[in-house]
């Protein structure tokens, strides 16, 4: 009997210890989240306020309250471009943040070695009620691996315009906006005739050709389609054979030669300020700038969607946009389920409605209407929201990195006449083919 006593006692002690550990306070869990400082869940003007007043800080507090023992560390990434390299480097070293806010499309496809596939973790309800999943599926394929969540807000491209200037030029774009490229060019001519710069844009200040990326890409994809552009960037077809793209580039050049763009667009960096000060008629924009522009221009601010390149083409009444931002989970995270729970929480109906109290963006959920948001039917944001389910996904995010480099950096040379459209597309072809 004695020979069983000691093992029995040891067993009891072991079980009691395990029971105490199990019943004791839960171990604290900390999730680190990288968030872009603009164009994401942090609005352009939010950073002027104390951090605890930001929407995202308040959302994290709500999540922490609903999940005792969980704390979230917010790390703001001021440089969105650098955030991708930083994430990649951190992922390689095994210390990437649990959740990172990166751009959708090729930027995340290019680093899937350090991103956790989410196919088995995303709730079915999210797949059903959130739009834009194609932007985070590897290769944009309907069955591609899910590399992240579309961020909870939608960026839609459009043109902001100054109603007073347009009226002075004898037009009313609210009642009769230009519907074709010919009407658009004609309208720009009328604006120039009254001595105002028709389009203000900084086409190289941030090494990105905004006019092409936000407006003219729509005309490109109208003619070539996103699938066609993907085939070109993968080297299966030639950019040089893309007559639609060449026509768009020639139009881009013609806008410069006719004096419709500001003359120093290749070096300027104050177009938005100039636009807010009434120095130009149009500024190409995305939704995150809308609130600031409305504050500055009040009822004079109008919203113009890109006219059609050719009404006979299949794609009509759309624009460039979609969830340009995503949330990804690092492969090295210790808490994959919790990380997905947090992202799902940020995308939930309740949180999207909360976010809209601070920032105004079209939303990516199908179960929220403009009326839910309290937007007037004729408001600028309501007009943009109409496009939140019929957008055409970002063309520049389709381009593979080396092609995107050429596109972003050298396109402005085409406008200013330092490079021919043919030389430009040849350079893109030279860099195509690497996935």
């Amino acid at each position: 009997m004695r020979r069983f006593t000691i093992p029995l006692l040891l067993g009891v002690v072991l079980l009691a210890t395990l029971a105490l550990v199990a019943c004791g306070p839960k171990q604290a869990v900390k999730l680190t989240v990288w968030m872009n400082g603009a164009d994401s869940l942090i609005g352009p003007t939010e950073q002027q306020k104390p951090q605890e007043q930001w929407y995202i800080s308040q959302a994290f507090k709500r999540f922490e309250k609903a999940n005792p023992g969980v704390t979230i560390e917010l790390v703001v990434q001021a440089d969105q471009n650098a955030a991708h390299t930083n994430f990649k480097t951190a992922g390689l070293a095994g210390n990437a943040p649990d959740v990172a806010n990166l751009w959708t499309g090729q930027p995340i496809f290019g680093m899937k070695e350090v991103i956790l596939p989410l196919d088995k973790l995303v709730p079915a309800d999210d797949l059903k009620k959130i739009v834009g999943w194609e932007s985070v599926r590897d290769g944009f394929k309907p069955d591609g691996t899910i590399l992240g969540y579309p961020a909870a807000q939608n960026q839609i491209c459009f043109m902001m315009y100054n109603k007073a200037i347009v009226k002075k030029a004898g037009m009313d774009w609210e009642a009769n906006p230009p519907k074709t490229i010919q009407e658009f060019d004609e309208a720009l001519g009328k604006i120039k005739a009254i001595g105002v710069t028709p389009i203000l844009v900084d086409e190289a200040a941030q090494s990105v050709c905004w006019w092409l990326a936000w407006v003219a890409d729509y005309w490109w994809t109208q003619q070539t389609t996103n699938e066609g552009i993907l085939a070109e960037t993968y080297g299966e077809k030639k950019f040089a054979d893309d007559k639609g793209f060449l026509a768009v580039l020639n139009h881009y050049r013609s806008l410069y030669t006719k004096g419709y763009f500001r003359k120093d667009m290749a070096t300027s960096n104050d177009s938005f300020t100039q636009f807010l000060n009434g120095k130009g008629a149009i500024w190409p924009s995305v939704t995150s700038f809308l609130a600031d522009a409305e504050k500055a221009l009040g009822p004079d601010l109008g919203v113009l969607m890109p006219p059609s390149w050719d009404p006979s083409l299949t794609l009509q009444n759309s624009t460039i946009g979609g969830p340009g931002q995503s949330f990804v989970v690092a492969k090295n995270t210790k808490y994959p389920q919790l990380a997905v729970k947090l992202i799902s929480f940020l995308n939930s109906r309740a949180e999207v409605l909360e976010a809209e109290k601070i920032n105004r963006w079209p939303v990516v959920r199908t179960d929220i209407t403009p009326a839910d948001m309290g937007w007037a039917a004729d408001s600028n944001i309501a007009k943009i929201q109409k496009y939140s389910t019929i957008y055409n996904y970002w063309v520049d995010n389709l381009l593979t990195p080396d092609v995107a480099n050429v596109f972003y950096i050298q396109a402005v040379l085409v406008a200013t006449g330092k490079m021919t459209p043919q030389a430009f597309v040849a350079e893109m072809d030279k860099n195509a083919g690497r996935k």
Binding site: G110, D264, N405, K418
Partner: protein
């Protein structure tokens, strides 16, 4: 025999002391210089993307970069920007001579001339960007004095943009050059100048026939240091002023290393970036050797 043994032992101890004394710097050089250079050289033959892709590609990175349109543009820009070296050395010598001669107010001039050196290069870059902006103060002055036709987009084309960058670098570097040359001047015995004055040598004769020949080694150092600096340290100026653009119109070899590694478009082509770094190293070494040989010849003439 015993004496030989003691001498041999002392010699061994001496050798060991020398080796031990050299060890710290040798380790530092190996870890912080030789290893990174060797690593960059090795990676320049791969398609390393910063993650897991690092296949051997031979000299493809070098060939592809040289074949690309960018190579000749950035090489041309890099060489054009070297124009700042003779300019800053020449102006530095003139300023140093004026300070050495203790012209009226020389103490104030010395402080003023050196001031740009204590301002961040990024701030200088932004100041010049604003100053030479299309609607900036410089063009405003040109328009005000009736030279509106000369008010151009200074950063809009390669020639004028590089000109402004050279101007900013020279303005930034004059103080450093003047201090270096002034240090060299201080080492020349005053009796040499006194004798020259007694012999009737004029100011410019003293400057060109006495000072410059006696400063050859100092000028050599100034030229090599500022040449290497121009080839490798211009990043903050370019980033703040032009971001290497429009296109690649103001990009240099060292700026391309950044663009290929961390630039827009998420390409992270570290293999090509390493190849450009190796090319830049070869260029720096070649120019340094040429410059040293010229300086040796000048010293012989002196």
């Amino acid at each position: 025999m015993a004496a030989d043994s003691i001498a041999g032992r002392r010699s061994r101890i001496k050798r060991r002391e020398i080796l031990l004394s050299l060890l710290p710097i040798a380790v530092i050089l190996l870890v912080f210089r030789v290893y990174p250079i060797a690593l960059a050289l090795g990676r320049s033959f791969t398609n390393w993307d910063g993650l897991f892709r690092h296949d051997w590609v031979g000299i493809a990175n070098y060939v592809n970069f040289v074949k690309s349109g960018q190579f000749w543009t950035v090489l041309r820009n890099t060489l054009i920007l070297l124009i700042n070296v003779p300019l800053q050395v020449f102006i530095g010598i003139v300023v140093a001579l004026l300070l050495y001669e203790k012209v009226a107010g020389w103490r104030i001039y010395r402080a003023v001339v050196y001031t740009p050196q204590i301002i961040s290069a990024v701030i200088i870059g932004f100041l010049f960007k604003i100053f030479f902006g299309y609607e900036g103060p410089f063009n405003a002055v040109l328009k005000a004095v009736g030279l509106g036709s000369m008010a151009i987009e200074w950063f809009g084309n390669n020639f004028t943009a590089l000109g402004v960058i050279v101007f900013s670098i020279v303005w930034f570097s004059i103080g450093w050059q003047a201090i270096v040359i002034l240090g060299g001047l201080s080492a020349i015995p005053p009796s040499v100048f006194e004798a020259a004055i007694i012999d009737g040598a004029r100011y410019w004769q003293r400057a060109f026939l006495i000072v410059i020949p006696m400063l050859v080694r100092v000028i050599e150092f100034a030229v090599i240091a500022s040449g290497v600096w121009t080839l490798t340290q211009l990043f903050p100026f370019l980033f703040a002023m032009t971001k290497g653009g429009p296109g690649y119109e103001t990009s240099t070899l060292d700026y391309m290393i950044y663009l290929k590694s961390f630039g827009i478009g998420f390409s992270s082509d570290y293999g090509t970036a390493s190849a450009i770094a190796v090319m830049l190293l070869v260029l720096v070494l070649a120019l340094t050797v040429i410059e040293m040989r010229l300086a040796n010849r000048a010293d012989d003439w002196g």
